[in-house]
């Protein structure tokens, strides 16, 4: 498993080098949502489950950034290595197994996704701080109100990590089997976006009719967004979500490895 390290290291060197051009697109989308919904709609919306709307969306926006970045990295980076640079074949003439290559790729996608999520979290918290410092409360004070304690944060991060892991694996699968860039774009539009918007990022799940709710709860994104938010704001960890995510993570990981191994041999 020694080969995992240079592969991850390469991805980190490249990401670090492109950080100035990469950072903006990463933060623009959650920031837009935050400004449009958080600031824009705040005044028209009552608190949701006792939480101001801004605080309601922020945890989800952070998870969303992590998850979509992990997917993008997994999908595009593998596609690029396979189709454009053909560097996969350079990896494959070195004494490392296909497992080391996929695991390295999944791992770097997952870590980069999680890091981007954390960067967005810091920026959004700063903005909340700015928004509320005109009033009496600071963001820190606000968070304290929701009895944000260290254990909440740890559970929240567990959700974000599991989510990034799943989407990094799904991205890796897509980057392995799809040869045309249009197809990867389609997956983003047809699969990722609905998954994000249906999962109760911007509204409470209780808005769904009770017949579809069990289905919505099965979506991995629901488990990620809703579970992460509950963990952060209420310190409540719903076992169904955690269980779901572990299962999804395990299944997608195994599938990604098998598919990669099968497809890459030409």
């Amino acid at each position: 498993m020694r080969g995992i390290f240079p592969i991850c290291e390469r991805d980190f060197i490249v990401s670090w080098r492109n950080i100035s051009s990469d950072l903006l697109p990463t933060i623009v989308s959650p920031l837009t949502f935050f400004l449009a919904f958080g600031f824009g709609l705040q005044g028209y919306l009552s608190d949701i489950e006792g939480v101001p709307y801004t605080m309601f969306v922020v945890p989800g926006l952070v998870s969303m950034t992590a998850v979509t970045s992990a997917f993008d990295h997994g999908a595009w980076s593998l596609w690029f290595h396979r189709i454009v640079q053909k560097t996969i074949n350079e990896y494959r003439v070195n004494p490392i197994s296909v497992y080391e290559i996929v695991i390295g790729k999944i791992l770097s996608g997952f870590l980069l996704g999680a890091i981007k999520g954390i960067v967005v979290a810091i920026i959004l918290l700063f903005l909340i701080n700015f928004q509320t410092s005109t009033g009496a409360e600071s963001a820190l004070g606000l968070l304290m109100d929701y009895s944000l304690v260290f254990s909440h944060l740890l559970f929240y991060l567990l959700f974000v990590f599991l989510g990034s892991m799943i989407f990094s694996c799904v991205g890796t699968m897509c980057g392995t089997v799809m040869d045309r860039p249009e197809d990867l774009n389609k997956i983003q539009g047809v699969v990722i976006t609905p998954l994000v918007f249906l999962a109760g990022l911007f509204f409470p799940l209780s808005s769904f009719p009770s017949e579809v709710l069990p289905l919505i709860k099965l979506l991995p994104t629901t488990a990620i967004f809703e579970g992460a938010r509950q963990a952060l704001l209420q310190g409540r960890v719903e076992s169904q979500y955690i269980l779901e995510l572990f299962v999804y993570a395990a299944v997608s990981f195994i599938l990604a490895v098998i598919i990669f191994q099968k497809y890459i041999e030409e």
Partner: protein
């Protein structure tokens, strides 16, 4: 034996790319694989370098089975693929160090080696540039340097000198020759001169099958029986190579090159009647040609362009 192939076949959907190749290549050999486009050279290299699995047959590199021991094989082989598969987001030097790390070399060992190879390929001053800013030949040299970092005992070179200028080509040839003692080299090329100069043994491949196998000299020998002449005409005489009177005396179709015509006589005795037929006043000169590797290549694989 450095490389053993037993009846290797590779079938892509409905294309037979490699059609039952068996070979034994001794250690220290410079082995050249020639063949027209689509002959199956790259496919064979991919099979031996564990990138692709054969449809059937067996192959061994230094006793290691390509199907079961691919990791062990990858420790001892160096590969220059036909396409320059460099990482354009890493600098030239980082491309080489990534390779060294994947080979499991310690930093203390690879740093020196990487700089040595960059120097040898004339790229040291460009080591911190990205390969997409390199010319095609420079990229090629970087790929060759990368294949040599871990000092492989068997080196696979798929058209290594394509795109190189004469200076670089000669430098690569010299380096290949200097490796000969310790390294077995398996190369493919479209340059007959390269095969002629470098290779101890040559196989010409077409449609996935080996047509001929031997040293450059022995391969040329196969055309010695026939007689190849170059006939140069006066500038105002426009010969038509397909003219009937030629055809009777010669075995292949004649072909034009630099204003003169090359013909392959069926027999020496036809030379005189042929000249009489054309009328001597139109003929400027006649030269008997020693068959070249290219003549044999064309003779064996035909004149038509491959799809």
């Amino acid at each position: 034996m450095a490389i053993i192939l037993k009846n290797i076949r590779k079938v892509y959907k409905n294309i037979v790319a490699v059609d039952g190749i068996s070979l034994n290549i001794e250690e220290g050999t410079v082995f050249g694989l020639l063949g027209p486009n689509g002959a199956g050279k790259t496919t064979l290299v991919k099979i031996l370098t564990t990138i692709t699995t054969p449809t059937s047959g067996e192959a061994y590199i230094h006793g290691y089975d390509i199907k079961k021991d691919s990791i062990k094989i990858r420790r001892i082989i160096g590969v220059v693929p036909q396409e320059n598969n460099l990482d354009r987001y890493l600098t030239a030097r980082e491309n080489l160090t990534l390779h060294a790390k994947m080979q499991g070399m310690p930093r203390s060992e690879y740093n020196e080696r990487v700089d040595y190879l960059l120097n040898m390929m004339g790229l040291f001053h460009r080591r911190n540039d990205f390969p997409d800013k390199f010319s095609g030949g420079m990229q090629r040299r970087l790929v060759i340097a990368r294949a040599l970092i871990h000092s492989p005992t068997v080196l696979f070179l798929d058209e290594p000198t394509t795109g190189l200028d004469p200076q670089s080509r000669r430098a690569v040839w010299e380096y290949i020759q200097s490796l000969k003692e310790k390294t077995t080299i398996f190369l493919t090329t479209h340059y007959m001169e390269e095969a002629d100069q470098l290779c101890d043994r040559i196989v010409i491949l077409d449609h996935g099958k080996a047509l001929i196998d031997g040293t450059s000299a022995s391969i040329k020998e196969t055309l010695k029986g026939s007689d190849l002449y170059e006939v140069e005409f006066e500038p105002d005489f426009k010969p038509d190579p397909s003219q009937r009177e030629f055809l009777y005396f010669i075995s292949d179709n004649p072909y034009e090159e630099n204003g003169s015509i090359r013909i392959n006589l069926k027999d020496k005795k036809y030379l005189k009647p042929l000249i009489e037929r054309i009328e001597t006043k139109y003929i400027r000169g006649i030269r008997r040609l020693e068959p070249t590797l290219e003549d044999v290549f064309i003779h064996l694989t035909g004149r038509s362009i491959r799809d």
